[in-house]
Protein backbone atom coordinates (compact mmCIF):
# COMPACT_ATOMS: atom_id res chain seq x y z
CA UNK A 1 0.00 0.00 0.00
CA UNK A 2 2.79 2.37 1.02
CA UNK A 3 4.58 1.51 -2.22
CA UNK A 4 1.52 2.07 -4.32
CA UNK A 5 0.60 5.45 -2.84
CA UNK A 6 4.19 6.59 -3.18
CA UNK A 7 4.20 5.37 -6.76
CA UNK A 8 1.01 7.23 -7.58
CA UNK A 9 2.35 10.41 -6.10
CA UNK A 10 5.65 10.25 -7.95
CA UNK A 11 4.20 9.17 -11.26
CA UNK A 12 0.93 11.01 -11.41
CA UNK A 13 1.74 12.52 -14.77
CA UNK A 14 2.55 9.15 -16.27
CA UNK A 15 -0.68 7.81 -14.86
CA UNK A 16 -2.61 10.59 -16.55
CA UNK A 17 -0.74 9.71 -19.70
CA UNK A 18 -1.81 6.10 -19.43
CA UNK A 19 -5.43 6.99 -18.78
CA UNK A 20 -5.57 9.44 -21.66
CA UNK A 21 -3.83 6.98 -23.96
CA UNK A 22 -6.33 4.28 -23.07
CA UNK A 23 -9.29 6.50 -23.86
CA UNK A 24 -7.63 7.76 -26.99
CA UNK A 25 -6.86 4.23 -28.12
CA UNK A 26 -10.44 3.12 -27.65
CA UNK A 27 -11.84 6.14 -29.45
CA UNK A 28 -9.46 5.69 -32.37
CA UNK A 29 -9.85 1.96 -32.78
CA UNK A 30 -13.58 1.81 -32.40
CA UNK A 31 -13.80 3.98 -35.52
CA UNK A 32 -12.00 1.46 -37.71
CA UNK A 33 -14.52 -0.26 -40.00
CA UNK A 34 -14.56 -4.05 -40.13
CA UNK A 35 -13.19 -3.99 -43.68
CA UNK A 36 -9.93 -2.82 -42.22
CA UNK A 37 -9.73 -5.11 -39.21
CA UNK A 38 -7.07 -7.40 -40.62
CA UNK A 39 -4.75 -4.51 -41.57
CA UNK A 40 -5.48 -2.93 -38.20
CA UNK A 41 -4.45 -6.11 -36.44
CA UNK A 42 -1.16 -6.38 -38.28
CA UNK A 43 -0.50 -2.65 -38.14
CA UNK A 44 -1.09 -2.54 -34.39
CA UNK A 45 1.09 -5.60 -34.11
CA UNK A 46 3.91 -3.68 -35.79
CA UNK A 47 3.49 -0.84 -33.33
CA UNK A 48 3.91 -3.26 -30.44
CA UNK A 49 7.50 -3.59 -31.64
CA UNK A 50 8.06 -0.21 -29.95
CA UNK A 51 9.62 -2.28 -27.19
CA UNK A 52 12.66 -2.02 -29.47
CA UNK A 53 13.29 1.40 -27.97
CA UNK A 54 13.85 -0.27 -24.62
CA UNK A 55 16.31 -2.77 -26.03
CA UNK A 56 18.29 -0.03 -27.78
CA UNK A 57 18.58 1.90 -24.53
CA UNK A 58 19.57 -1.29 -22.74
CA UNK A 59 22.24 -2.21 -25.27
CA UNK A 60 23.72 1.27 -25.26
CA UNK A 61 24.27 1.02 -21.54
CA UNK A 62 25.45 -2.59 -21.48
CA UNK A 63 29.06 -3.26 -20.55
CA UNK A 64 30.94 -3.95 -23.84
CA UNK A 65 32.71 -6.90 -22.19
CA UNK A 66 29.54 -8.54 -20.96
CA UNK A 67 28.76 -10.78 -23.90
CA UNK A 68 25.87 -12.43 -22.16
CA UNK A 69 23.92 -9.16 -21.84
CA UNK A 70 24.98 -8.03 -25.28
CA UNK A 71 23.78 -11.21 -26.95
CA UNK A 72 20.48 -11.31 -25.13
CA UNK A 73 19.94 -7.63 -25.84
CA UNK A 74 20.76 -8.17 -29.49
CA UNK A 75 18.30 -11.06 -29.67
CA UNK A 76 15.61 -8.87 -28.12
CA UNK A 77 16.39 -6.19 -30.65
CA UNK A 78 16.29 -8.53 -33.60
CA UNK A 79 12.97 -9.95 -32.49
CA UNK A 80 11.42 -6.52 -32.06
CA UNK A 81 12.83 -5.31 -35.35
CA UNK A 82 11.36 -8.29 -37.23
CA UNK A 83 8.04 -7.48 -35.65
CA UNK A 84 8.27 -3.84 -36.71
CA UNK A 85 9.55 -4.11 -40.25
CA UNK A 86 7.62 -7.26 -41.06
CA UNK A 87 4.43 -5.87 -39.53
CA UNK A 88 4.46 -2.58 -41.36
CA UNK A 89 5.53 -4.18 -44.63
CA UNK A 90 2.83 -6.82 -44.58
CA UNK A 91 0.21 -4.23 -43.64
CA UNK A 92 1.35 -2.07 -46.48
CA UNK A 93 1.09 -5.01 -48.85
CA UNK A 94 -2.45 -5.71 -47.73
CA UNK A 95 -3.49 -2.09 -48.00
CA UNK A 96 -1.92 -1.74 -51.42
CA UNK A 97 -4.58 -4.14 -52.63
CA UNK A 98 -7.29 -1.96 -51.16
CA UNK A 99 -5.90 1.12 -52.77
CA UNK A 100 -5.72 -0.16 -56.31
CA UNK A 101 -9.44 -0.23 -56.61
CA UNK A 102 -10.63 3.03 -55.09
Amino acid sequence: MEYILQFIQNNILSIYLVVFAIFLGFELISKVPSVLHTPLMSGANAISGIVLVGSILFLRKANPEDYFSLSLGAIAMIMAMINIVGGFAVTNRMLAMFKKKK
Binding site: S14, M41, L52, V53
Partner: protein, 465 residues
Amino acid sequence: MTAAVYLMYLIGAIAFILGLRGLSSPQTARKGNLTAAFGMGLAIIASLAFPLEGSFGNFGWIIGSLIIGALIGWFSAARVEMTEMPQLVSVFNGLGGGSAMILALVEYLKITSNGKMDGMEAVIILFTLLVGGISFSGSILAYLKLDGKVKDKHVVLPGHQYINILLFVASIASLWYAWCCPSSTAIIIATLVSLVYGFSFVAPIGGADMPVVISLLNSVTGISAATAGFLYDNQIMILGGILVGASGTILTVLMCNAMNRSILNVIMGGFSATGVAAAAGATGDQDQTVQSVQAVDVAILLNYASKVIMVPGYGMAVAQAQKQAKELDEILSEKDVEVLYGIHPVAGRMPGHMNVLLAEVDISYDKLLDLDDTNGNINDTDIVLVVGANDVVNPSALDDPSSSIYGMPVLEVWKAKQVVVFKRSMKPGYAGIQNPLFFKENTKMLFGDAAKSLKGIITEIKSLS
Protein backbone atom coordinates in the same frame (compact mmCIF):
# COMPACT_ATOMS: atom_id res chain seq x y z
CA MET B 1 19.95 17.95 -27.52
CA THR B 2 17.77 16.32 -24.92
CA ALA B 3 14.91 18.59 -25.92
CA ALA B 4 15.38 17.66 -29.58
CA VAL B 5 15.26 13.96 -28.74
CA TYR B 6 12.17 14.50 -26.62
CA LEU B 7 10.53 16.29 -29.49
CA MET B 8 11.37 13.44 -31.84
CA TYR B 9 9.71 11.01 -29.50
CA LEU B 10 6.73 13.30 -29.25
CA ILE B 11 6.39 13.59 -33.00
CA GLY B 12 6.72 9.83 -33.22
CA ALA B 13 3.86 9.46 -30.75
CA ILE B 14 1.73 11.87 -32.73
CA ALA B 15 2.53 9.88 -35.86
CA PHE B 16 1.21 6.74 -34.14
CA ILE B 17 -2.03 8.51 -33.31
CA LEU B 18 -2.43 9.96 -36.78
CA GLY B 19 -1.53 6.60 -38.29
CA LEU B 20 -4.28 4.84 -36.40
CA ARG B 21 -6.70 7.58 -37.34
CA GLY B 22 -5.77 7.03 -40.96
CA LEU B 23 -6.62 3.36 -40.61
CA SER B 24 -10.24 4.28 -39.99
CA SER B 25 -10.98 4.72 -43.68
CA PRO B 26 -9.90 2.66 -46.69
CA GLN B 27 -8.84 5.79 -48.57
CA THR B 28 -6.37 6.89 -45.95
CA ALA B 29 -5.38 3.51 -44.52
CA ARG B 30 -2.20 3.08 -46.47
CA LYS B 31 -0.96 6.53 -45.64
CA GLY B 32 -1.89 5.85 -42.04
CA ASN B 33 0.25 2.74 -41.93
CA LEU B 34 3.18 4.59 -43.43
CA THR B 35 2.69 7.42 -40.96
CA ALA B 36 2.89 4.98 -38.08
CA ALA B 37 6.00 3.43 -39.62
CA PHE B 38 7.52 6.89 -39.90
CA GLY B 39 6.78 7.46 -36.22
CA MET B 40 8.55 4.22 -35.42
CA GLY B 41 11.55 5.33 -37.46
CA LEU B 42 11.72 8.57 -35.49
CA ALA B 43 11.48 6.66 -32.22
CA ILE B 44 14.41 4.48 -33.25
CA ILE B 45 16.57 7.45 -34.29
CA ALA B 46 15.68 9.27 -31.08
CA SER B 47 16.69 6.22 -29.04
CA LEU B 48 20.05 6.07 -30.82
CA ALA B 49 20.63 9.79 -30.27
CA PHE B 50 19.31 9.99 -26.71
CA PRO B 51 21.97 11.56 -24.45
CA LEU B 52 22.44 8.65 -22.09
CA GLU B 53 24.49 8.76 -18.93
CA GLY B 54 26.93 5.87 -18.77
CA SER B 55 26.38 4.81 -22.36
CA PHE B 56 29.09 2.57 -23.78
CA GLY B 57 27.81 2.96 -27.28
CA ASN B 58 27.82 -0.65 -28.53
CA PHE B 59 26.57 0.76 -31.80
CA GLY B 60 28.08 -2.11 -33.72
CA TRP B 61 25.81 -4.55 -31.92
CA ILE B 62 22.88 -2.23 -32.22
CA ILE B 63 23.13 -1.41 -35.90
CA GLY B 64 23.90 -5.04 -36.68
CA SER B 65 20.77 -6.22 -34.87
CA LEU B 66 18.67 -3.56 -36.53
CA ILE B 67 19.82 -4.63 -39.97
CA ILE B 68 19.39 -8.34 -39.33
CA GLY B 69 15.92 -7.82 -37.91
CA ALA B 70 14.89 -5.52 -40.71
CA LEU B 71 16.04 -7.95 -43.39
CA ILE B 72 14.30 -10.93 -41.84
CA GLY B 73 11.12 -8.92 -41.31
CA TRP B 74 11.14 -7.50 -44.79
CA PHE B 75 11.63 -10.80 -46.55
CA SER B 76 9.10 -12.71 -44.56
CA ALA B 77 6.56 -9.98 -45.25
CA ALA B 78 7.34 -9.92 -48.95
CA ARG B 79 7.27 -13.67 -49.40
CA VAL B 80 4.20 -14.66 -47.41
CA GLU B 81 1.09 -15.85 -49.21
CA MET B 82 -2.02 -13.87 -48.38
CA THR B 83 -3.63 -17.02 -46.97
CA GLU B 84 -0.84 -17.34 -44.46
CA MET B 85 -1.37 -13.89 -43.08
CA PRO B 86 -2.85 -15.08 -39.77
CA GLN B 87 0.18 -17.29 -39.15
CA LEU B 88 2.59 -14.47 -39.92
CA VAL B 89 0.83 -11.96 -37.68
CA SER B 90 0.89 -14.55 -34.97
CA VAL B 91 4.63 -15.11 -35.28
CA PHE B 92 5.38 -11.40 -35.38
CA ASN B 93 3.28 -10.90 -32.31
CA GLY B 94 5.17 -13.62 -30.48
CA LEU B 95 8.46 -11.97 -31.37
CA GLY B 96 7.29 -8.66 -29.92
CA GLY B 97 6.26 -10.35 -26.69
CA GLY B 98 9.49 -12.35 -26.57
CA SER B 99 11.50 -9.20 -26.99
CA ALA B 100 9.75 -7.60 -24.03
CA MET B 101 10.34 -10.76 -21.99
CA ILE B 102 14.07 -10.89 -22.74
CA LEU B 103 14.39 -7.21 -22.00
CA ALA B 104 12.75 -7.67 -18.62
CA LEU B 105 15.01 -10.63 -17.93
CA VAL B 106 18.27 -8.80 -18.67
CA GLU B 107 17.16 -5.69 -16.82
CA TYR B 108 16.39 -7.82 -13.79
CA LEU B 109 19.78 -9.51 -13.94
CA LYS B 110 21.54 -6.19 -14.37
CA ILE B 111 19.75 -4.48 -11.53
CA THR B 112 20.08 -7.36 -9.08
CA SER B 113 23.80 -7.71 -9.84
CA ASN B 114 24.21 -3.96 -9.15
CA GLY B 115 22.55 -4.29 -5.76
CA LYS B 116 19.04 -3.91 -4.47
CA MET B 117 16.20 -2.65 -6.59
CA ASP B 118 13.27 -0.40 -5.87
CA GLY B 119 10.09 -2.36 -5.07
CA MET B 120 7.87 -0.83 -7.71
CA GLU B 121 10.53 -1.10 -10.39
CA ALA B 122 10.79 -4.80 -9.67
CA VAL B 123 7.04 -5.18 -9.94
CA ILE B 124 7.11 -3.53 -13.36
CA ILE B 125 9.97 -5.72 -14.57
CA LEU B 126 8.36 -8.91 -13.37
CA PHE B 127 4.98 -7.99 -14.82
CA THR B 128 6.60 -7.28 -18.18
CA LEU B 129 8.37 -10.62 -17.97
CA LEU B 130 5.11 -12.44 -17.27
CA VAL B 131 3.00 -10.89 -20.01
CA GLY B 132 5.82 -10.90 -22.52
CA GLY B 133 6.45 -14.57 -21.84
CA ILE B 134 2.79 -15.52 -22.12
CA SER B 135 2.51 -13.61 -25.37
CA PHE B 136 5.64 -15.28 -26.75
CA SER B 137 4.90 -18.93 -26.10
CA GLY B 138 1.16 -18.48 -26.63
CA SER B 139 1.65 -16.90 -30.04
CA ILE B 140 4.04 -19.60 -31.12
CA LEU B 141 1.55 -22.30 -30.24
CA ALA B 142 -1.21 -20.35 -31.96
CA TYR B 143 0.96 -20.21 -35.05
CA LEU B 144 1.59 -23.94 -34.94
CA LYS B 145 -2.12 -24.66 -34.56
CA LEU B 146 -3.13 -22.30 -37.35
CA ASP B 147 -0.57 -23.82 -39.63
CA GLY B 148 -1.87 -27.28 -38.86
CA LYS B 149 1.50 -28.34 -37.46
CA VAL B 150 -0.09 -29.08 -34.11
CA LYS B 151 -3.56 -30.54 -33.71
CA ASP B 152 -5.74 -29.61 -30.77
CA LYS B 153 -5.78 -33.13 -29.44
CA HIS B 154 -1.97 -33.30 -29.22
CA VAL B 155 -1.78 -30.60 -26.61
CA VAL B 156 -4.94 -30.84 -24.58
CA LEU B 157 -4.68 -32.72 -21.33
CA PRO B 158 -7.62 -33.99 -19.30
CA GLY B 159 -8.73 -31.34 -16.81
CA HIS B 160 -6.65 -28.81 -18.63
CA GLN B 161 -8.48 -25.88 -17.03
CA TYR B 162 -7.31 -26.97 -13.60
CA ILE B 163 -3.76 -27.35 -14.85
CA ASN B 164 -3.97 -23.80 -16.18
CA ILE B 165 -5.17 -22.46 -12.87
CA LEU B 166 -2.32 -24.29 -11.15
CA LEU B 167 0.20 -22.92 -13.63
CA PHE B 168 -1.14 -19.44 -13.18
CA VAL B 169 -0.72 -19.69 -9.44
CA ALA B 170 2.74 -21.15 -9.97
CA SER B 171 3.83 -18.25 -12.18
CA ILE B 172 2.56 -15.69 -9.70
CA ALA B 173 4.37 -17.55 -6.93
CA SER B 174 7.62 -17.73 -8.87
CA LEU B 175 7.36 -14.03 -9.70
CA TRP B 176 6.75 -13.24 -6.07
CA TYR B 177 9.79 -15.24 -5.14
CA ALA B 178 11.90 -13.41 -7.71
CA TRP B 179 10.62 -10.17 -6.19
CA CYS B 180 11.30 -10.88 -2.56
CA CYS B 181 14.53 -12.84 -2.87
CA PRO B 182 16.25 -11.73 -6.08
CA SER B 183 18.56 -14.27 -7.70
CA SER B 184 19.31 -15.48 -11.20
CA THR B 185 17.85 -18.88 -10.44
CA ALA B 186 14.60 -17.30 -9.28
CA ILE B 187 14.21 -15.22 -12.41
CA ILE B 188 15.04 -18.08 -14.72
CA ILE B 189 12.46 -20.26 -13.03
CA ALA B 190 9.92 -17.45 -13.26
CA THR B 191 10.66 -17.05 -16.96
CA LEU B 192 10.22 -20.73 -17.63
CA VAL B 193 6.99 -20.92 -15.69
CA SER B 194 5.61 -17.92 -17.61
CA LEU B 195 6.49 -19.57 -20.88
CA VAL B 196 4.88 -22.84 -19.91
CA TYR B 197 1.82 -20.99 -18.72
CA GLY B 198 1.47 -19.13 -22.01
CA PHE B 199 1.74 -22.39 -23.92
CA SER B 200 -0.73 -24.17 -21.71
CA PHE B 201 -3.11 -21.21 -21.81
CA VAL B 202 -3.48 -21.52 -25.57
CA ALA B 203 -3.41 -25.34 -25.69
CA PRO B 204 -7.08 -26.11 -24.94
CA ILE B 205 -8.41 -23.35 -27.18
CA GLY B 206 -9.87 -24.70 -30.40
CA GLY B 207 -8.07 -24.06 -33.68
CA ALA B 208 -11.12 -22.17 -34.90
CA ASP B 209 -10.65 -19.68 -32.13
CA MET B 210 -7.03 -18.91 -32.92
CA PRO B 211 -7.82 -15.52 -34.50
CA VAL B 212 -9.45 -14.47 -31.24
CA VAL B 213 -6.45 -15.74 -29.30
CA ILE B 214 -4.00 -13.92 -31.54
CA SER B 215 -5.88 -10.72 -31.10
CA LEU B 216 -5.93 -11.27 -27.34
CA LEU B 217 -2.21 -12.00 -27.29
CA ASN B 218 -1.67 -8.94 -29.43
CA SER B 219 -3.22 -6.85 -26.74
CA VAL B 220 -1.07 -8.65 -24.16
CA THR B 221 2.08 -7.81 -26.14
CA GLY B 222 0.95 -4.20 -26.23
CA ILE B 223 0.59 -4.18 -22.47
CA SER B 224 4.06 -5.64 -22.03
CA ALA B 225 5.47 -2.88 -24.25
CA ALA B 226 3.62 -0.26 -22.22
CA THR B 227 4.92 -1.56 -18.89
CA ALA B 228 8.42 -1.71 -20.32
CA GLY B 229 7.87 1.95 -21.17
CA PHE B 230 7.39 2.67 -17.48
CA LEU B 231 10.72 1.01 -16.83
CA TYR B 232 12.54 3.38 -19.19
CA ASP B 233 10.24 6.29 -18.38
CA ASN B 234 9.63 6.49 -22.08
CA GLN B 235 6.30 7.95 -23.20
CA ILE B 236 6.26 6.68 -26.74
CA MET B 237 6.62 3.13 -25.46
CA ILE B 238 3.74 3.69 -23.08
CA LEU B 239 1.55 5.21 -25.78
CA GLY B 240 2.42 2.65 -28.44
CA GLY B 241 1.87 -0.23 -26.05
CA ILE B 242 -1.47 1.09 -24.90
CA LEU B 243 -2.70 1.73 -28.43
CA VAL B 244 -1.88 -1.87 -29.31
CA GLY B 245 -3.53 -3.05 -26.11
CA ALA B 246 -6.68 -1.12 -26.96
CA SER B 247 -6.72 -2.36 -30.51
CA GLY B 248 -6.27 -5.97 -29.48
CA THR B 249 -8.92 -5.72 -26.82
CA ILE B 250 -11.48 -4.14 -29.11
CA LEU B 251 -10.89 -6.63 -31.91
CA THR B 252 -11.17 -9.52 -29.47
CA VAL B 253 -14.47 -8.23 -28.17
CA LEU B 254 -15.80 -7.60 -31.67
CA MET B 255 -14.89 -11.11 -32.78
CA CYS B 256 -16.46 -12.68 -29.73
CA ASN B 257 -19.61 -10.63 -30.26
CA ALA B 258 -19.78 -11.62 -33.90
CA MET B 259 -19.62 -15.27 -32.83
CA ASN B 260 -22.03 -14.58 -29.99
CA ARG B 261 -19.69 -16.10 -27.43
CA SER B 262 -18.09 -14.75 -24.32
CA ILE B 263 -14.36 -14.33 -24.13
CA LEU B 264 -14.31 -16.71 -21.19
CA ASN B 265 -16.03 -19.35 -23.26
CA VAL B 266 -13.34 -18.97 -25.90
CA ILE B 267 -10.51 -19.20 -23.41
CA MET B 268 -11.94 -22.22 -21.65
CA GLY B 269 -11.90 -24.00 -24.96
CA GLY B 270 -15.47 -25.20 -24.44
CA PHE B 271 -16.12 -24.75 -28.11
CA SER B 272 -13.42 -27.07 -29.28
CA ALA B 273 -14.50 -29.90 -27.00
CA THR B 274 -18.13 -29.92 -28.06
CA GLY B 275 -17.01 -29.30 -31.62
CA VAL B 276 -15.03 -32.51 -31.71
CA ALA B 277 -17.94 -34.49 -30.37
CA ALA B 278 -20.38 -32.99 -32.82
CA ALA B 279 -18.05 -33.54 -35.73
CA ALA B 280 -17.82 -37.21 -34.91
CA GLY B 281 -21.60 -37.38 -34.89
CA ALA B 282 -21.81 -35.44 -38.10
CA THR B 283 -19.67 -37.71 -40.23
CA GLY B 284 -21.63 -40.73 -39.03
CA ASP B 285 -24.87 -39.06 -40.00
CA GLN B 286 -25.06 -40.14 -43.62
CA ASP B 287 -28.71 -41.05 -44.10
CA GLN B 288 -29.68 -37.61 -45.33
CA THR B 289 -29.05 -36.97 -49.00
CA VAL B 290 -27.60 -34.01 -50.80
CA GLN B 291 -28.18 -32.92 -54.37
CA SER B 292 -24.90 -32.84 -56.20
CA VAL B 293 -24.70 -30.83 -59.43
CA GLN B 294 -22.18 -30.11 -62.18
CA ALA B 295 -20.74 -26.79 -63.36
CA VAL B 296 -22.98 -26.81 -66.42
CA ASP B 297 -26.13 -26.96 -64.28
CA VAL B 298 -25.02 -23.99 -62.27
CA ALA B 299 -24.17 -22.11 -65.46
CA ILE B 300 -27.71 -22.62 -66.74
CA LEU B 301 -29.21 -21.49 -63.44
CA LEU B 302 -27.06 -18.36 -63.49
CA ASN B 303 -28.05 -17.65 -67.04
CA TYR B 304 -31.65 -17.12 -65.96
CA ALA B 305 -30.96 -15.33 -62.72
CA SER B 306 -31.32 -11.62 -62.24
CA LYS B 307 -29.85 -11.26 -58.76
CA VAL B 308 -26.95 -13.30 -57.40
CA ILE B 309 -25.23 -13.08 -54.04
CA MET B 310 -21.83 -14.67 -53.55
CA VAL B 311 -20.92 -15.70 -50.00
CA PRO B 312 -17.17 -16.22 -49.66
CA GLY B 313 -15.64 -18.15 -46.78
CA TYR B 314 -12.35 -19.62 -45.72
CA GLY B 315 -12.46 -22.00 -48.68
CA MET B 316 -12.17 -19.07 -51.07
CA ALA B 317 -8.92 -18.12 -49.40
CA VAL B 318 -7.65 -21.68 -49.59
CA ALA B 319 -8.58 -22.09 -53.24
CA GLN B 320 -7.47 -18.53 -54.06
CA ALA B 321 -10.72 -18.38 -55.99
CA GLN B 322 -11.16 -14.62 -55.80
CA LYS B 323 -9.83 -14.09 -59.33
CA GLN B 324 -12.38 -16.51 -60.75
CA ALA B 325 -15.10 -14.92 -58.64
CA LYS B 326 -14.27 -11.56 -60.12
CA GLU B 327 -14.28 -12.99 -63.63
CA LEU B 328 -17.69 -14.58 -63.12
CA ASP B 329 -18.93 -11.32 -61.65
CA GLU B 330 -17.88 -9.45 -64.77
CA ILE B 331 -19.48 -11.93 -67.15
CA LEU B 332 -22.75 -11.87 -65.22
CA SER B 333 -22.76 -8.10 -64.88
CA GLU B 334 -22.47 -7.82 -68.65
CA LYS B 335 -25.64 -9.87 -68.88
CA ASP B 336 -27.30 -7.40 -66.48
CA VAL B 337 -27.33 -9.86 -63.63
CA GLU B 338 -26.89 -8.02 -60.33
CA VAL B 339 -23.97 -9.57 -58.44
CA LEU B 340 -23.47 -8.80 -54.75
CA TYR B 341 -21.28 -10.26 -52.00
CA GLY B 342 -22.48 -11.28 -48.55
CA ILE B 343 -19.67 -10.78 -46.07
CA HIS B 344 -20.00 -12.36 -42.66
CA PRO B 345 -17.89 -10.66 -39.99
CA VAL B 346 -16.07 -13.85 -39.05
CA ALA B 347 -15.89 -15.51 -42.45
CA GLY B 348 -12.35 -16.71 -43.06
CA ARG B 349 -9.74 -16.79 -40.36
CA MET B 350 -9.20 -13.16 -39.47
CA PRO B 351 -11.51 -10.20 -39.03
CA GLY B 352 -11.98 -8.61 -42.41
CA HIS B 353 -10.30 -11.56 -44.14
CA MET B 354 -12.82 -11.66 -47.00
CA ASN B 355 -12.55 -7.93 -47.57
CA VAL B 356 -8.83 -8.27 -48.06
CA LEU B 357 -9.31 -11.12 -50.54
CA LEU B 358 -11.92 -9.32 -52.58
CA ALA B 359 -9.97 -6.08 -52.47
CA GLU B 360 -7.06 -7.97 -53.99
CA VAL B 361 -9.04 -8.40 -57.19
CA ASP B 362 -10.57 -4.94 -57.24
CA ILE B 363 -14.14 -5.74 -56.38
CA SER B 364 -15.93 -2.49 -55.57
CA TYR B 365 -16.89 -1.74 -51.96
CA ASP B 366 -20.47 -0.98 -52.96
CA LYS B 367 -21.04 -4.61 -53.86
CA LEU B 368 -20.07 -5.86 -50.41
CA LEU B 369 -23.04 -6.30 -48.09
CA ASP B 370 -22.62 -6.75 -44.37
CA LEU B 371 -24.54 -9.28 -42.35
CA ASP B 372 -27.76 -7.31 -41.97
CA ASP B 373 -27.80 -6.02 -45.51
CA THR B 374 -27.25 -9.50 -46.88
CA ASN B 375 -30.12 -10.92 -44.88
CA GLY B 376 -32.28 -8.00 -45.96
CA ASN B 377 -31.49 -8.72 -49.59
CA ILE B 378 -31.77 -12.47 -49.49
CA ASN B 379 -35.50 -12.93 -50.13
CA ASP B 380 -35.51 -11.64 -53.67
CA THR B 381 -32.21 -13.25 -54.59
CA ASP B 382 -32.35 -15.94 -57.26
CA ILE B 383 -29.11 -17.74 -56.49
CA VAL B 384 -26.68 -17.66 -53.63
CA LEU B 385 -23.23 -19.02 -54.43
CA VAL B 386 -21.61 -20.20 -51.20
CA VAL B 387 -17.95 -20.25 -52.17
CA GLY B 388 -16.02 -22.08 -49.47
CA ALA B 389 -18.10 -20.83 -46.56
CA ASN B 390 -19.65 -23.22 -44.10
CA ASP B 391 -20.10 -22.20 -40.46
CA VAL B 392 -21.24 -18.72 -41.38
CA VAL B 393 -24.21 -20.08 -43.33
CA ASN B 394 -25.19 -22.77 -40.84
CA PRO B 395 -28.91 -22.65 -39.92
CA SER B 396 -28.22 -24.58 -36.69
CA ALA B 397 -26.92 -21.32 -35.28
CA LEU B 398 -30.51 -20.12 -35.33
CA ASP B 399 -32.64 -23.15 -34.66
CA ASP B 400 -30.61 -25.79 -32.85
CA PRO B 401 -29.97 -24.83 -29.22
CA SER B 402 -27.72 -27.88 -28.80
CA SER B 403 -25.34 -26.66 -31.50
CA SER B 404 -22.05 -25.21 -30.36
CA ILE B 405 -22.54 -22.18 -32.56
CA TYR B 406 -26.14 -21.62 -31.46
CA GLY B 407 -26.81 -17.92 -31.13
CA MET B 408 -24.19 -16.72 -33.60
CA PRO B 409 -25.79 -14.52 -36.24
CA VAL B 410 -25.43 -16.13 -39.67
CA LEU B 411 -26.17 -15.34 -43.30
CA GLU B 412 -29.60 -16.83 -43.90
CA VAL B 413 -28.86 -17.96 -47.43
CA TRP B 414 -31.50 -20.72 -47.43
CA LYS B 415 -34.15 -18.03 -47.80
CA ALA B 416 -32.99 -17.37 -51.36
CA LYS B 417 -34.61 -19.23 -54.24
CA GLN B 418 -31.59 -21.43 -54.90
CA VAL B 419 -28.33 -22.06 -53.05
CA VAL B 420 -25.21 -23.59 -54.59
CA VAL B 421 -22.49 -24.66 -52.17
CA PHE B 422 -18.92 -24.96 -53.44
CA LYS B 423 -16.78 -27.35 -51.39
CA ARG B 424 -14.55 -30.32 -51.86
CA SER B 425 -16.19 -32.84 -49.57
CA MET B 426 -18.83 -33.26 -46.90
CA LYS B 427 -16.29 -32.40 -44.21
CA PRO B 428 -17.35 -29.81 -41.66
CA GLY B 429 -15.86 -26.30 -41.44
CA TYR B 430 -13.67 -24.98 -38.67
CA ALA B 431 -16.25 -25.30 -35.94
CA GLY B 432 -16.31 -29.02 -36.70
CA ILE B 433 -20.08 -29.34 -36.90
CA GLN B 434 -22.47 -30.58 -39.54
CA ASN B 435 -24.38 -28.07 -41.65
CA PRO B 436 -28.11 -28.80 -42.28
CA LEU B 437 -28.06 -26.25 -45.09
CA PHE B 438 -26.52 -28.88 -47.36
CA PHE B 439 -29.60 -31.10 -47.02
CA LYS B 440 -32.20 -28.43 -47.77
CA GLU B 441 -34.39 -28.80 -50.80
CA ASN B 442 -33.21 -25.65 -52.54
CA THR B 443 -29.52 -26.39 -51.93
CA LYS B 444 -27.25 -27.89 -54.56
CA MET B 445 -23.69 -29.03 -53.87
CA LEU B 446 -20.94 -28.42 -56.40
CA PHE B 447 -18.04 -30.54 -55.19
CA GLY B 448 -14.43 -29.71 -56.02
CA ASP B 449 -11.93 -26.97 -55.52
CA ALA B 450 -13.73 -23.65 -55.60
CA ALA B 451 -11.38 -22.04 -58.12
CA LYS B 452 -11.72 -24.96 -60.51
CA SER B 453 -15.50 -25.10 -60.13
CA LEU B 454 -15.83 -21.39 -60.81
CA LYS B 455 -13.60 -21.71 -63.85
CA GLY B 456 -15.81 -24.54 -65.08
CA ILE B 457 -18.91 -22.42 -64.69
CA ILE B 458 -17.30 -19.54 -66.55
CA THR B 459 -16.43 -21.81 -69.49
CA GLU B 460 -19.96 -23.19 -69.59
CA ILE B 461 -21.59 -19.77 -69.49
CA LYS B 462 -19.39 -18.58 -72.31
CA SER B 463 -20.33 -21.59 -74.44
CA LEU B 464 -24.03 -21.05 -73.66
CA SER B 465 -24.19 -17.58 -75.10
